[in-house]
Symmetry: C2
């Protein structure tokens, strides 16, 4: 399936890529891929960040900041990039702290039109 | 006051810098600076993002991702970078959509030790 290829390709082409997921804003994943050895609970992570993305979107609307296109989070253990696909789906990439965040963002950005073409 | 100098210097040294704020996680701002012509309701923005930062922190802890160091949000109207100073304060930079996000992140990162030295 094209979605599986997209998430796999995103992880295999970025240094430090741990996991990628295409997820509905209701927290149900459409497709996901995890690097070997990656210890990421991607379902839980996806659901939590689906909620956060919704909260952030609401806050941004309240503030008149317009809709949220991309969110990046740097925590002690992960770098997380989340990008909106459409009002129903988003895609998230999870990288190691020393992973290439710039390349990750780029791969996420070029994945979106490919996903949109299939939805 | 050193805090005022830090927020002003951050905005004046980045292309597209609109506003900077050092804010308590309770939503009360310690210091803020806005570029001329910038139409940003920085108090409201700060309070909303103080809440979001708290929510994100809680989610990250739940997930065992460790503490959140930095959050970036790209909306239709702004690029927002938020960085943790300590458990009580954070600093946020708000840039125009065409502003230099990389430089903004850099300025935010180098501001933190200066702020910590004064707290």
């Amino acid at each position: 399936m094209i979605f599986d290829e997209i998430v796999q390709s995103a992880i295999e082409n970025v240094h430090g890529g741990l996991a990628a997921v295409i997820m509905g804003r209701d927290g149900i994943s459409l497709s996901q891929f995890m690097a070997e050895n990656a210890e990421v609970d991607i379902e839980t992570l996806g659901i939590e960040y689906a909620n956060l993305f919704a909260e952030i979107g609401k806050a941004a609307e309240t503030l008149g900041s317009g809709s949220v296109q991309e969110v990046m989070l740097l925590t002690d253990q992960y770098q997380i990039v989340i990008r909106s696909i459409n009002p129903e789906y988003f895609m998230a990439l999870i990288l190691a702290p020393d992973g290439n965040l710039g390349k990750g963002r780029f791969l996420l950005r070029v994945s979106i039109p490919k996903i949109l073409a299939e939805l």
